[in-house]
Amino acid sequence: MPATVQTRDPRWVGQGIPRVDAEDKVRGRAQYVDDLLVPNGWHGHVVRAPVPHGLLRGLTPDPAFDWSRVVVVTAKDIPGPNCIVSHDRSMPVIASDEFLYAGEPVALIAAPTLRLAREAAEHLRIDFEERPAILTLHEVADQFKHNDPALVKLCGQTIRKGDAEAALARAHKVVEAEYTAGHQEQLYIEPQGLVAEPTGDGGVFIYGSMQCPYFIVHELCEALALPPEKIRVKQAAVGGAFGGKEEFPTWLAGYVALLALKAKRPVKIVYDRHQDILYTTKRHPVWSRYRTGLNRDGTIAAIAVDFLLDGGAYLTLSDVVMYRGILHAAMGYRCDHVFVNGLVARTNTVPSGAFRGFGAPQAIWGLESHVDAMAAAAGMTPHEFRLKNCLVQGDTTPTGQVLKWSVGSPAVLEKSLERCRFDEQWKKCSRGKPGAKSWYGIGVSFFAHGAAFTGDGEARIKARAAMDLDWLAPGRPGGIVRVSSTEMGQGALTVLSQLAADGLGLDLSRVSCPFPDTALVPNSGPTVASRTTMVVGSCVYGAAGKLKKALEQFAGKPIASGKEFDEIASAYLNKHGRLRVEHLFVLPPGTQWDQKTFRGDSYPGYSWGCNVAEVEVDPRTLGIRVKKITAFYDIGKVVNPVLAKGQIEGGLVQALGYSVMEKIGIDRKGRFDASRMQTYIIPTMQDIPEMDLDFVEFPFDHAPPGAKGVGELPMDGLAPAIANAIEAATGLRMRDLPITPEKLYEHSQKNLGR
């Protein structure tokens, strides 16, 4: 444990205080990128590939159009190598000789008005030769199942524990099934938008809507041929992100930066909703196949999983999404023989990307559906089977990690089952009883979610937070939190302020937490992976503690009150000027991880959750209504219970959409079909069920004050809980998300035909 942090009675941690940014947002003062006045600014527009796969022969400008009024950028204008430096260098900023998805940029245009930019685009002919395309998960899953060499594998990884095949051969019973889920759109309220301005020194200043300011710096510096310090990135107010503003803003930053540098003036692009749905990243579609073995006594003998993600056209960060997926695909249950085979396949669609849960929801969807199938095969109820087999403290995960601390299992499971009287309700399930006016069902899911980065991620990124002692206002000294973590609506600024105030032992009014600007903040890593409160928050807490110590040393006495702080801090600032202290995150002692074999401690800690869904299905229409969700979570120390519950409520609604509504396919032109809010169906207030939510706290002692992740957790387990409840209600086992009345009907007809 970091030695500099003293234990004290926390004042702000644990309190459900209102958001520090609430007033600005409620009063409409918060400035989102499209609210900002951009003097001299032009509008950017992206010219896109018309078909999903083709060879680009050239771009022919219409001579009748007056091109002097606009600025056009093609791949030839890129000063450095034409690539975005993500997890590989395969994706170009602008396609140059081949394009791999419908809508991939082939040129960029800036003009004084958006209308003129769009008009110019209509006068630019794209000459191309169309090539064959693979468009859907089903095509790649078929290729995989038939060992078809045409399958384009973007990456692969396995996890091995014991010998799963041998254990399957010996098992008393083997249970096999396949599970699939389609794309999911993040549908943040504010669409993507950025502005780039050339700076005097040949560099560029990029600001707007984003999750990870330093990603833009590091992923673009090669293409722009600029040293990192000449790419300054600042976050504006962000209206939701959910992972959708993790890697995508780098692409958009590439478009606006190239246009701004060539046009020598600021350029802005803000997508409308239709463009945003068509041309930005979505959750990876998944196909998984479970083969599991059971022992006579109802314990699990073996788990073998094939886990295939549709990565879209380029790798981007799909490898790590798949890693998180395979690490959760057999997690949560005691089993000595596990084999997980993960891979990401290419389709000619927009690259799939980050979305709340980052592969874990796709894995848990299959796993927790399959656990019900195993329970049935073992002749047990779903809850008995889970209570019997769930991991507890001291058990070993599929990667061989021993769960030594902060294990909220079986607590979350037991408490949820008890709260909703699962045992009683289970007996009331309709199972498709003929003649009933309504079918009732209850279903459960249980899961862990790895907190912070996967494997050696935290060790490699070396997240730091800084606290500046500075003037908050004339005559008012205080601590300024300097981190690259972003507020996107989840409450990060509030939680970080609470942690900073407690680290300093001061009132919240002596702390400020501004939006990050890469010119001013150290790299505390991206705002992803449910790591902000746990990892960055703990660094802020540590840095604040150090700052207080430094002041006490300066004064030669302890600081016991706000008034004393004001005096001492003012004296310090008058004498020495601003003071910055930093704190680094360290993994728990003894952490070991082998990135090649995927053996060892895959995460520093785990959050735990249990969801119970109660559903009603209308036998007349097969309409599905989720009536109630009961859930317990262990997210370690709860820093702000109101915000934590808000995260869970909102996340469960998003998961509800994933489970029973959000259907988006690929049309014949290779584009997303539900590309407007008219056709992309998310839950409304009227669809939201009653929720009974609660926490059990198993603090994570290696990152004071002990928080673990919460952000992604609510997305993880609802879909399988609902599928399990639907089976209990109707007798129909649904294995493809979203579960719609149409699919229930089709499935019921197939069953009748048998």
Partner: protein, 284 residues
């Protein structure tokens, strides 16, 4: 490249002025009611951007709900909010009031009008089935006079109406629910609110001593236009309502429609659920 901002929107002072403009191609504009369909269609490129639009929203001649010997007369610019809250409509045209209450959300109901819903001529327009079951009529006006169009003949094809370019819909006249009859509307949407219909329908039925005297039933979203089910209606007259009958109704209603796959649902589900829906409409 023309956009919504390029449209010249004109505000007539009276219906007569609007009709005079519509009579001449050089002054004619796209009729604009609440704009809840048009604004969306213009913005998304589904509808062509016209030179001009003529706003009918403020025309007093097109407002109001009154009882006449021919039936309830509803002005073209009556909003969904007015329909759902009018005591007259609720009592005499309960299916229409129920349908209006399911359109979009409150904001849409405050702006969207009965004429816009009908003239948009979408098979998913929620009001049409409730109008069709009344055997009422629409009235169109032009500079040269008025014309009554039986509702059964109004919808001529996908997004097509029997209304000329120089005409405007001015009112709907809908025979009230006769004594001893009942009406119902039922909608199967994509979610609990703000839902466009997968299938929706309405029926007006008279039952005497357990026997069906007459039935009018209409479905939307199962064909290019909202439809009545004439075969079922003829077959059922004079039959006793019992479980066997309901099962046969379900089978026949399903057989009588030929829906398609689209983004909201599938042909097979729509066909099946049409039968279920008609059955549910008849179940008391």
């Amino acid at each position: 490249m023309r956009t919504v901002e390029d449209i010249e929107i004109r505000f007539p002072g009276s219906l007569a002025e609007a009709l005079a403009w519509q009579a001449d191609e050089k002054t004619r504009g796209r009729p604009l009611a609440g704009g809840t369909d048009l604004m969306v269609q213009w913005e998304s490129g589904v509808a062509a951007i016209p030179e001009r639009a003529v706003s009918l929203w403020g025309l007093k001649e097109l407002k109001g709900i009154r009882e006449t010997p021919r039936g309830i007369e509803i002005g073209a610019m009556t909003t969904h909010t007015e329909l759902r809250s009018s005591p007259l409509v609720r009592e005499k045209l309960p299916a229409l009031a129920a349908a209006a209450a399911t359109v979009g959300g409150r904001q849409i109901q405050n702006r969207g009008t009965i004429a816009g819903n009908v003239a948009n001529a979408s098979p998913a327009g929620d009001l049409a089935p409730t109008l069709l079951i009344t055997d009422g009529l629409a009235t169109a006006a032009s500079a040269s006079g008025r014309r009554d169009i039986p509702l059964a003949k109004l919808f001529t094809g996908y997004r097509k109406l029997d209304v000329r370019a120089d005409e405007l819909l001015v009112s709907f006249t809908l025979p009230a629910l006769p004594a001893g009859a009942r009406e119902k509307f039922h909608k199967i949407g994509t979610r609990a609110a703000q839902a466009i219909s997968k299938v929706m329908g309405a029926c007006r039925v008279r039952v005497q001593n357990g026997t069906i005297v007459s039935l009018a039933v209409s479905l939307g979203s199962v064909a290019p236009v909202p439809v009545r089910l004439p075969e079922l209606e003829q077959w059922i007259a004079g039959r006793r309502v019992d479980l066997n009958l309901l099962e046969e109704v379900e089978r026949r209603a399903s057989a009588e429609v030929h829906p398609i796959d689209d983004i909201r649902s599938t042909a097979t589900y729509r066909k099946w659920v049409s039968g279920r829906l008609v059955r549910a409409l008849l179940e008391a």
